[in-house]
Assembly symmetry: none
Homo-oligomer: 416 residues x 2
């Protein structure tokens, strides 16, 4: 197959009215990129059946006129239980079909009502609509919600995929249901892929200093991509030959040493889940973000004790016994305060591992000596000395806080 | 004029590869919505001149074929000084035109170089390209950058607007240059808008039980929209008549009582910023998310002390002195534990206001009596009794945690 023309569509009048932003398309495009597919364009449409149907008909027409370039349309939104959910209706009109219930989804909905003490006949027709799909379509189960997704044919090898707009439901459906379908359908000669995270570096520097190191592999057909994250970049290598991507990953590791890692969130979670060690955190400028990130993963309760949010100086002293003299002479954002937070945290939590963060997230509070973005991050193993590392993160308040929390996990991963 | 068919285009291969997300379109649509214009769709395209030109030609064709529905295309990106900036080239090809420099922008660029000790002849052609526009087009000055924007005609009353992709430059250009042009061209009357948040309710129930209450206003031309958030919905009313939207907002307040609010995050922040009260939080299942949300807003340090993350039972006892007997007999997710967390928190923080959250975020840990989603949220003013409220939130781990943190702020707002 030559090419696949991929269009991602998000529907929702709240999107085209600017009340909320389309994050689904970006996420889907990123996932497809990692699977080796490039997206041609995104479309964002209001909950207007005429507009949606027009665009789908146009894409179907394109797929018929260029049979050697199959069209894949991935659409999210409009599958819910309100009057302005039109996706099913548009898909039916597109292929002039009737709808039928997905029996599995219907039973789930029924059970959902019954556990709430209601009977099947209580379900409003508009609510019931969520479990209907075009007759004969491939259904995509929804593990975390009620609305079922589906894949409809546009023409030979061309498909329309419809998924709910709720990001958590869509992501789960994409990974567990859609990806296997796409791999099966387009027999993507499986490309081998290696990903490495590199910390404290931007995309352009990585490109300038590292990519020349793999020019031989690129000349031999390997492809690369890089995505900027908060605190690190993801370097992705793809090739038909396993050896090439393994070699590229090896060169990243050699070039960047301990600044190059695998997925740090997964690694920390995996290592701590079996280590029998307890972790606590003390957060100032991140305000709880580090704890939130750790507990994003179910099962974190095995190793995560919790910790303290010491946003004010008074709480640093009150909860962590940070000496007011240290705060006065060195400031809240200093190596001394950062280490003192670790010592205090270990004392009150009795955890085996402690992390601390104190910094200036901005936009106010920066000085010449300590500009906005200055963050001290500490780590300590029980019995060992407290260590603290200084960073000056770029970006705005959000970015600086994300950088700080991610980097704390990077520093923790190093000592596990 | 009957209708205006508005398409917003963002260009950038970093967008279609999922490396960064398109915030410009959302912002522009929001501004247009407030000015009373509805956007038909967004398009996100890669830095590929063929793809961009194809789409523009298609839109021009549409404008020619439906002269009674003028087309307005607002495009951002691709006007900079790098090789992959193709917007000018595409606009020239679209109308088969030559380019000419904007004299004002050219002088600005020259001055920019001269203040850096360089002469005009040092400017590379690719950099100079930023000050060129299609001959005869309306130029849009860039007050905060070098790249000049422009408006090209597509057909009678139909236009292509090109602006830089840098958000700060685009926003300034939009407000100061483009809006006057659009008002002049399309002579639009402005719409009034009111928004209310309603808690603990879904979109479909709101539609079913409330919307009939404003059927008279809707028959008189008012429009409404609703967006689902985590823990609440946003109900939005628009009309040419101020009285209508004020009346609709009043009816929401009357119908939902204290479950209807304004923006709770802003309200809590504003009230606490002037109240001289200190706030602390104790989080179990949210793991830091509530603290993170509070500290998302700069200036929270005025009132936010911090708190504790007591993810494990041992830490609930160790840090907050929750009686192990309470944990044993009532469980960690119970009214008693929730209140005990408040009392312990007040004691160690000495804050005027305390919030606590303990629940089952899942996917594991649910029982028949306490299913996944069960969350107790507590609030306490110093000197008053601890109060605790039980919720059973729908959705997955992420959704339940977001619901819980948002609802805690809703409960806090009620007592401020």
């Amino acid at each position: 197959m030559k090419n696949l023309r991929i269009t991602i569509i998000s529907t929702g009048s709240e999107l085209t009215a600017g009340r909320s932003s389309d994050t689904n398309s970006t996420w889907i495009a990123g996932q497809l990129f990692e699977l080796g597919w490039k997206v041609r364009n995104f479309l964002v449409l209001p909950d207007d059946p005429k507009v949606i149907t027009d665009e789908l008909k146009n894409l179907k027409e394109i797929s018929i006129q260029n049979p050697e370039e199959p069209v894949l349309v991935i659409m999210t939104g409009g599958l819910g239980a309100t009057e302005d959910d039109y996706t099913l209706q548009c898909a039916l009109e597109l292929n002039d079909k009737k709808s039928e219930p997905s029996e599995k989804a219907r039973l789930k909905l029924q059970k959902f009502y019954e556990t709430r003490g209601k009977s099947y006949s209580d379900i409003l027709p508009v609510v019931l609509r969520q479990v209907y799909v075009p007759e004969g379509s491939v259904t995509l189960d929804n593990a975390s919600g009620l609305a079922v997704g589906f894949v409809e044919s546009l023409s030979n090898q061309s498909y329309l995929v419809c998924m709910p707009g709720v990001p958590s439901e869509m992501k789960d459906m994409f990974n567990r249901r859609l990806v296997p379908f796409l791999k099966r359908t387009y027999r993507k000669e499986s490309l081998f892929q290696e990903t490495r995270w590199v910390w404290n570096i931007g995309e352009s520097l990585f490109q300038a200093e590292f990519i020349p190191q793999v020019s031989d592999l690129l000349a031999d057909g390997m492809e690369w991509g890089v995505t900027a994250q908060k605190g690190f970049i993801k370097a992705i290598f793809q090739s038909k030959e396993k050896k090439q991507v393994e070699e590229a990953a090896l060169r990243v590791e050699k070039f960047y040493g301990s600044e190059s890692t695998s997925d740090v969130f997964a690694s920390v979670h995996q290592k701590l889940s079996i280590a029998g060690l307890q972790l606590s955190v003390a957060e100032s400028c991140t305000g709880g973000l580090l704890g939130k990130k750790i507990t994003d993963l179910p099962g974190a309760s095995i190793y995560f004790n919790g910790g303290v949010i010491v946003y004010s100086n008074s709480q640093k002293t009150k909860l962590l016994s940070v000496d007011p003299e240290i705060l006065k002479s060195h400031g809240a954002v200093s190596e001394e305060t950062c280490k003192s937070m670790l010592n205090g945290l270990e004392q009150i939590s009795n955890s085996d591992l402690s992390l601390s963060i104190t910094g200036i997230a901005g936009p106010e509070g920066g000085t010449e000596e300590k500009p906005v973005g200055t963050v001290w991050i500490g780590r300590k193993r029980k019995g060992a000395n407290a260590e603290a590392f200084k960073y000056v993160f770029p970006g705005n308040r959000d970015t600086i806080r994300e950088n700080a929390a991610n980097t704390a996990l990077f520093l923790l991963n190093q000592i596990l």
